[in-house]
Symmetry: C2
Subunit: 129 residues, 2 copies
Amino acid sequence: MLGKKESCCSNRGNRLPKIKEMEIPDSIRQELEQLGGFDALADRIPQREDLEEKSRIYHALSDPLRLTILHLLKDQPLCVCVIKKFVRIADSKLSYHLAILKERGLITGEYQGNWVIYSLTADGRSFVR
Amino acid sequence: MLGKKESCCSNRGNRLPKIKEMEIPDSIRQELEQLGGFDALADRIPQREDLEEKSRIYHALSDPLRLTILHLLKDQPLCVCVIKKFVRIADSKLSYHLAILKERGLITGEYQGNWVIYSLTADGRSFVR
DNA sequence: ACGATATTTCAACAAAATTTGAAATGAGAT
DNA sequence: ATCTCATTTCAAATTTTGTTGAAATATCGT
């Protein structure tokens, strides 16, 4: 969803204006100052890497077809051949979506005889409860 | 992420092949039959509307910048003017991302004087615990 | 009503994700 | 080795998302 080098989020090390010097609504200023001001607020933002990792997982989940696949795998592993009967799409398209789920660590797949069998990972499982 | 009319997921009403008639790996067949076969499997797939709704929420979360905004709002509402100091991007860009979070019901915003103040919704909050 | 500041909207553009169909690969059977 | 079936890979075309800068809107103070 986002390349490697773009600055998107983290903030640490950015010089923030002093809260005193900024014109902001009173209610906001007061609450913020009680909670430690801008510096404390900056500390509440997770590391950029963590945000990027999370956003990639959410991206994998951001498609109904991929959610369907996760639900199909909820109670047992399945070969592509069975998944295919439920999501009626081109093989290559199914493969593409399986690859995304796999790359994000939500499912794993391995050959078993002629077939490839996919299962949920623990991470994947956490989203189909 | 996905248009209205595409068939993407649900499956109900699709004629499925009989599990007996299909060639699938033995281990899979056995487990599946124990769990009620193809019909039961089909029933485990949520309604298409639910999947689409969920996928749109996940899509909103699939960007590090938007996740940053949610974290900024975790402990108190903020005006755009403060958010802007933390995510250093063009105003219109920030507005675009705020609009996505808002449209997906993760934040709400309202004018208070000259400023617009955003807060997490209950839904939004559930993702920044 | 007018001017100033904060924020949003819009349309054009750029970038990223998805779809498609053909070709390639993996694995067992012959 | 060759055939066949299941699945993946690839590159090109298409669609969706995100970015940009200019213009519009909201609200307040005068």
